[in-house]
């Protein structure tokens, strides 16, 4: 069974630029999560989807971050404009249903200069 796919794996941008990350969850998984993992810290949930609906986005900085999961499968996370403090690994995870085991992708490492 293929795991969670993410692209790109690495991205370097300058502050105030925009960037987008893509996630393809495990086939059949209804729940999709985006996490931000700053160096030396644990992952922090940014947004959680159940199919194409948002379950929790309370920790998403909505002035600059947006995410969508239009057809209930793939998802994109966008940052516009980026700040230096957005440098982190952005992890996507999926689970069969709410509350089930989350499977994480390898992450996208973002460096904002």
């Amino acid at each position: 069974e293929a795991g969670v796919a993410q692209s790109p794996r690495y991205k370097i941008i300058e502050k105030r630029q925009s960037v987008a990350f893509w996630c393809n969850p495990i086939s059949g998984h209804a729940t999709l999560y985006w996490y931000q993992q700053i160096l030396g810290q644990g992952p922090k949930l940014l947004i959680q989807f159940q199919n194409n609906g948002v379950v929790d986005d309370s920790q998403l900085p909505k002035d600059r971050f947006s995410a969508e999961r239009l057809k209930g499968v793939d998802s994109t996370l966008k940052i516009q404009p980026a700040k230096l403090e957005d440098s982190a690994v952005y992890l996507c995870a999926s689970s069969f249903a709410l509350g089930e085991t989350q499977y994480f992708g390898p992450g996208t490492r973002l460096l904002v200069l």
Partner: protein
């Protein structure tokens, strides 16, 4: 406010030894406590989890000990192997459906 406090930040153990990582929480509403293992360049993977109705859970060489009154729980890795070298995160949530709050992680290195 850090809801899940993890220690130590890093740990070095000899092969065959016991690795112990500790976590403490503040929110008494937490009732699901998973541990995740993360290798460099990979996402975290669920290792073992416990609910507060039991004081211990064992899966192979990995054991969670839980002390509800002290609001503490710990991961013990018996017969530690070089392949166990990774970063370990404790976590907590109010229930399995709620968002997971992660600790800051412990970088474990097992000496061959």
């Amino acid at each position: 406010q850090q809801q899940v406090k993890q220690s130590p930040q890093s740990l070095i153990v000899q092969k065959g030894g016991i690795s112990i990582i500790n976590c403490a929480y503040e929110n008494t509403a937490f009732d699901y406590f998973p541990w995740y293992q993360q290798f460099p360049g990979k996402g975290p993977a669920l290792l073992i989890a416990i609910r507060p109705d039991v004081s211990e859970k064992k899966e192979g060489r990995f054991t969670i000990s839980f002390n509800k009154s002290a609001k503490q729980f710990s991961l013990h890795i018996m017969d530690s192997q070089p392949g166990d070298s990774a970063t370990y995160f404790c976590a907590a949530s109010r229930n399995r459906d709620d968002k997971i709050i992660f600790g800051k992680g412990t970088r474990l290195h097992i000496l061959p």
